[in-house]
Subunit: 220 residues, 2 copies
């Protein structure tokens, strides 16, 4: 075949055979996360990325086609990990409480393992130059919303949950995970431990008030 | 006196008397928010700000001393509005539910009225060049944490609330407000109406589950 994995024609310069492997691809991704974080998407150069990865420039073009291609690959891998984590929690047997807790804890764990990638996403999201490539933020929301919908609707049907709307649970849960995760993005804020996350989730699950207000599901 | 409001010596160029007023100061602040948003802090220039505000350059130095001075003034005014809003909700009489709801709704309203300022803060927070001046994120947290502590502890004492920790309520509530507010920062996400915010807050207040887990405050 005369095309590359990215579907583009091969670049002028030949790519050494040794750099066509997965290992080189991973090195490039890790280096790109560092460079994008330090410089921002617009100011980051292909040269810096390949130098940090200690590979040749053609290797980057071979695996990703362009700087934008590397960026999209970072997001895509993040999204895939997110999707896998959400799907696992949804597939897990157990009570609604166990499944909801598992989903939130696993997603939080995933964030914690990928703080530099989250930072790249945040920085691109807020790139003032507006030069960062588009990425589908709505898809993240769709994946998490879909997972929560499945667990919450099953919980309402089984009577474990009150008659709540899954999209409202999603907003609350995304908020808790988000405010906990954002504390890892800035050195002046105290990080939230998994134990504390669990306590705050329990607060949302059980409620803050002693007397509950009537809900649609509760006949007086 | 031979010093300016900002404590610096007067600049070379004289500042026209007409530009020493509050009106000019406000114009400069509004223009700076726009320019910082469009360009980012590092790339924004004093020239662009004064041109957009239709005032002279010395007027900016008279009121703020420097580009960083304008930036700090934007944050300071935002923080002051935040502080005033929080203090009002804390001072309000009523049930704990009314006071908590009021605090959250008023802060959300404040965010909605100041989306461009929030964007400047976010962009500076994520400035990849790391050139944006420092600002005290912890202070925002301290103000909100303090307000919530007062309302929550009174509510626990009066028996309206379960034996919850105010810092956990803070994380949940900041999360809900934050995830709702962040939807206004990107055109691809659906904004959250005040009515929906209220519904999600009620969810956190009343809890998602029908059966509550035992808390420290509930003897078996």
């Amino acid at each position: 075949m005369n095309t590359l994995p990215n579907g583009l024609p091969p670049p002028q310069a030949a790519v050494p055979q040794a750099e066509r492997d997965e290992h080189t691809r991973s090195r490039l991704l890790r280096a790109a996360v560092q460079v994008f974080n330090k410089k921002g998407y617009s100011a980051a150069s292909v040269r810096e990325i390949v130098e940090l990865a200690s590979v040749t420039k053609p290797a980057l073009y071979y695996h990703f086609g362009s700087k934008e291609g590397v960026f999209q690959a970072i997001l895509l891998e993040g999204l895939e990990a997110f999707r896998t984590t959400a799907a696992k929690a949804v597939a897990m047997p157990g009570t609604t409480r166990e499944r909801l807790t598992r989903l939130c804890e696993d997603l939080y764990g995933l964030f914690m393992e990928n703080v530099p990638v989250i930072q790249v996403v945040h920085r691109a999201f807020h790139d003032p130059a507006g030069n960062a490539p588009d990425f589908d933020l709505v898809e993240v929301e769709r994946v998490l919303g879909g997972a929560l919908k499945e667990i919450v609707e099953a919980g309402v049907a089984s009577g474990e949950l009150r008659a709540v709307r899954s999209e409202d649970v999603a907003l609350a849960v995304i908020g808790v995970i988000g405010s906990a995760a954002s504390r890892h993005l800035h050195p002046s804020l105290e990080p939230v431990s998994p134990a504390r996350l669990r306590r705050v989730l329990d607060l949302v699950f059980d409620g803050v008030f002693r007397e509950r207000r009537e809900q649609g599901d509760e006949k007086p």
